[in-house]
């Protein structure tokens, strides 16, 4: 399965892009939710800061009535806001753990602050009352002490000084303003004095006031020491940092998701482009290859044509021998007949009958020799066009060209149209033997007649050479047989040429059809013959040529497509 095939790639990449889009959408939702939550928390912290400021105003106002109802509401408001903040921190889960602890610390600090506030309120109430009463008591004095003794006046002066020392500005310093316990104790009148009780009350409240002032100052310091404002700011900073980090992560994730989507898209486009490029290159290469192949094929064919010509020439060379052979005997006979003329004249036998007989005999021989030339000339003429021919007749005619050679070498050729067992046959001194069973016109095919005959001739020539080769190896053999068996297999014609020669070595079986491959000695064969035969039969005539080893020697089978007999070609 080609993973880069469009059918897989496109859906896969579309799916991945879809995933990228979905991921980006989810990220975006998550990011927005995070932002909303962040805004909420920031708002809560801001509220908390304001609530804390409200509470701190209690400590700023020097000396006035505090709206206690408002202070209660302010404390409740702070508590609720802090509660809300802690809830929000809790929602952050493990990530916000530092913030959760921060929130708890704020809660503890708030508890401390609320205690400070309550105590402050209590002291503030007493301060208010004491101050008012101190003034009242002082107002009461002159009515009682005018014109009295030095001590009374001194006490009155001290009381005045005390009250003068109290102002909004140095309220906090009243405790350190030199009003020590000893000095305060001066504010006494002897028992029994009419104003004794007044002054005693004054002293009581003055002492309370001084203590109260100290306490108020201390509480202010305690509140400042709590530094809740700074802590809230710190919490705000830390929260902000936390969200920044998360946001950075979100941004990163979102960008990653988007980048992935974009990357896949780009990859898809690139792969697509690349594929197109490769396809084009492939097409171009194919075209080039095709033209090269055509070139080579044309060359090959040309070469084949040349080979055919060469093989023809080579065959021709062999044929010269055959012609010479066929002509030797008639030429001898002619020579004897002519030489006999002189003897016939000397013996007085030279009459008309004798001369007529002589002419008939010689003309017959000459005719035979002329026929030989015709046969060979026809044989080597190229068949320009395909024609229907009788395969049996073609083989028969080819045989006639070599029958003398075969007879000379004691090789018999058996033609059979029925299954024939070569090993069971007893040769009878060479020559062509036609067995029965062959119907004329039973084996008709279409093709180049002369080329076919050349192929057959080549096969027969090879068979002869194989037999002779065996005779060299087995001197006891004097006879040889070549069987040509014609059969019909369905719509095709099979011509089997079997010999009892030396056969084909199995390891060379595949190579014998190669051009320039020969098993014969150097100079004894061109190696083109079988290649040509195969080419003619398979390429030109669309048939087949196969070789195998029979029981005795080699067995070549020609297969041709059968055709309907029209007129038997010649």
């Amino acid at each position: 399965m080609n993973l880069l095939s469009k059918r897989i790639m496109i859906p896969a990449l579309v799916a991945l892009m879809g995933l990228g889009v979905v991921a980006y959408y989810l990220f975006f939702q998550g990011f927005l939710a995070q932002q909303r939550f962040e805004r909420l928390t920031t708002q809560t912290l801001s509220d908390l800061r304001l609530a804390n400021l409200e509470l701190d105003t209690l400590f700023v106002g020097g000396f006035s009535y505090i709206d206690y109802d408002k202070s209660v509401k302010d404390l409740q408001h702070f508590e609720q806001t802090l509660e809300a903040l802690l809830q929000q921190y809790n929602q952050l889960g493990d990530d916000g753990d530092g913030l959760g602890l921060l929130g708890e610390a704020l809660q503890r600090d708030f508890t401390a602050k609320s205690r400070i506030v309550e105590r402050y309120k209590a002291i503030n109430a007493v301060q208010n009352n004491s101050l008012r009463y101190l003034h009242e008591l002082y107002q009461q004095l002159p009515l009682k002490l005018l014109g009295e003794g030095a001590q009374e006046n001194a006490v009155r002066l001290e009381m005045g000084r005390f009250l003068a020392g109290i102002s909004a500005a140095n309220l906090r310093e009243i405790g350190n303003g030199g009003w020590t316990k000893d000095r305060l104790e001066q504010l006494r009148l002897p028992p029994g004095h009419p104003a004794e009780e007044t002054v005693a009350l004054f002293l009581l409240h003055a002492k309370m006031f001084v203590d109260g002032a100290k306490s108020v100052e201390a509480l202010g310091r305690d509140n400042a020491a709590l530094g809740l404002a700074a802590k809230i700011n710190k919490a705000a900073e830390q929260t902000d940092r936390y969200f920044r980090q998360r946001q950075a992560v979100w941004m990163l994730l979102g960008n990653l998701a988007f980048a992935m989507g974009a990357l896949f898209f780009v990859a898809f486009v690139l792969v697509f482009i690349r594929e197109e490029q490769l396809k084009k290159r492939l097409e171009r290469m194919n075209r080039e290859l095709e033209s090269r192949v055509n070139e080579e094929t044309a060359k090959r064919r040309h070469q084949e044509q040349m080979l055919i010509q060469q093989s023809k020439l080579a065959a021709m060379g062999e044929m010269i021998g055959a012609i010479a052979h066929q002509w030797r005997q008639p030429l001898n006979t002619l020579a004897i007949n002519i030489q006999d003329l002189e003897d016939a004249y000397n013996y007085g036998e030279l009459d008309k009958t004798y001369i007529q007989n002589l002419i008939a005999r010689c003309m017959g021989l000459i005719k035979h020799m002329s026929q030989t030339i015709n046969d060979f000339r026809n044989f080597f003429r190229q068949s320009k066009e395909k024609s229907r021919f009788d395969v049996y007749a073609a083989v028969r005619e080819t045989l006639e060209l070599v029958q003398d050679q075969y007879k000379n070498h004691q090789i018999s050729v058996v033609l059979s149209c029925e299954p024939f067992e070569l090993s069971a046959y007893k040769p009878q001194g060479g020559g062509i033997v036609e067995l029965s069973g062959c119907e004329p016109g039973a084996f008709v095919s279409e093709g180049y007649l002369n080329e076919f005959k050349q192929a057959v001739l080549n096969l027969l020539s090879n068979a002869k050479d194989a037999i002779l080769e065996r005779r060299e190896q087995e001197p006891g053999r004097t006879q040889g047989t070549v069987a040509v068996i014609f059969t019909r297999q369905g719509g095709s014609i099979e011509v089997g040429i079997e010999d009892d020669g030396s056969g084909v070595p199995p390891e060379l079986m595949e190579r014998i059809f190669e051009p320039y491959f020969s098993t014969k000695e150097e100079g004894k064969g061109t190696g083109i013959g079988l290649y040509m035969a195969k080419t003619i039969l398979e390429v030109n005539m669309g048939g087949a040529l196969e070789v195998s080893n029979g029981a005795q020697g080699a067995r070549f089978v020609i297969r041709l497509a059968g055709a309907q007999p029209s007129d038997p070609a010649k």
């Binding site: 009535y65 206690y68 202070s71 404390l75 205690r115 009352n129 008012r132 009463y133 009250l163």
Partner: protein, 312 residues
């Protein structure tokens, strides 16, 4: 300069009128929950032996108090402190004398589980409440059928929020009705401010919005008792908070005797006198006490709440 300062103080004392507000209903109120709370409030089965309900010590037709210096719990056990009124509690900063309950819900569980009061455990209450058919529709509507600590105390708290006493003469005076207070009451109001009572008893509840030391100027008698209640100290564990109590509301004070956290003072005159001495360090003349008591009487309001006369 001094005179101006003093005048300023006096003026601000008089101007402190801005520190008083008339009673207004608490809103919003969840009606189904208030209805459930009302039924629970009157149900003695909240207590262990089913003899004591909230209404036992805080009867609603008696201004939310039982008139005892300390109330009696189950088995006739004496309580620890004087039972404060249940009216107008929504305006208090915290609940119980030491402010240990920040919310009404937290307060509601207290008496239920206090051994000398109802002597029960919330689990027992949940158990029988869950099986009680008469409560089922109420719980269904108020809390979706949920019977637990949260729903029980929540219902009681919601009911208590409805308990207010608006329409007092003082509130009408604050609303602009000059004739709502008579001369004596008006004089009492002025004394209330100039003497300094207003320093602690201010706000919508005339109290209930801060903690103050009982006997801040002159120590009170109860300090003699070593077993005396320590007040706020019990919550903060800070010595400085010893004997600090939540300042009680003065609304309807004429009807909620006896007074102080130990219920040791039975008359309002005596309470005013003691407060002035112990908290302000002042000795009041009788005439002044009378005027103040008259003013305090003008703080009586109309009894309102869910299911009671005048309520929704």
């Amino acid at each position: 300069m001094k005179i101006a300062f003093i005048l300023g103080l006096v003026a601000s004392a008089l101007w402190a009128e801005g520190l008083f507000r008339p009673i207004a209903p608490v809103a919003p109120i969840d009606a189904p929950r208030a209805a459930l709370g009302q039924k629970l409030f009157h149900d003695p089965r909240l207590s262990k032996d089913a003899t004591v309900s909230c209404a036992t010590c805080h009867p609603l037709d008696a201004y939310g108090v039982d008139g005892l210096s300390v109330s009696l719990g189950i088995g006739g056990q004496k309580g620890e402190l004087n039972a404060p009124t249940v009216f107008n509690t929504a305006f208090n900063l915290a609940h119980f004398w030491d402010g240990r309950a920040a919310t009404l819900e937290e307060q509601a569980i207290g008496p239920i589980e206090n051994p000398v009061e109802m002597g029960n455990r919330i689990e027992n209450v949940i158990a029988w409440l869950s099986k009680d058919e008469s409560y089922r529709p109420l719980f269904k509507e108020a809390y979706g059928g949920r019977v637990d600590r949260e729903s029980i105390t929540g219902a009681l708290a919601e009911f208590q929020k409805t308990l207010i006493t608006p329409g007092s003469r003082f509130d009408r005076f604050l609303g602009g009705e000059q004739n709502a207070l008579n001369a004596a009451e008006r004089e009492g109001f002025a004394l209330f401010k100039t003497k300094g009572c207003v320093s602690c008893h201010n706000g919508i509840n005339l109290g209930g919005n801060l903690y103050q030391r009982a006997g801040v100027v002159i120590p009170m008698a109860f300090e003699q008792d070593p077993a005396a209640w320590a007040g706020r100290y019990a919550v903060t564990k800070d010595e400085a908070d010893r004997y600090y109590f939540k300042v009680p509301s003065l609304r309807n004070v004429g009807k909620t005797a006896p007074y102080f956290h130990d219920g040791s003072v039975t008359t309002l005159h005596e309470a005013v006198r003691q407060m002035a001495w112990h908290q302000l360090g002042r000795k009041l003349e009788e005439r002044e006490v009378d005027r103040l008591v008259a003013f305090l009487g003008a703080l009586e309001g109309r009894l309102e709440g869910y299911g009671i006369r005048g309520g929704r």
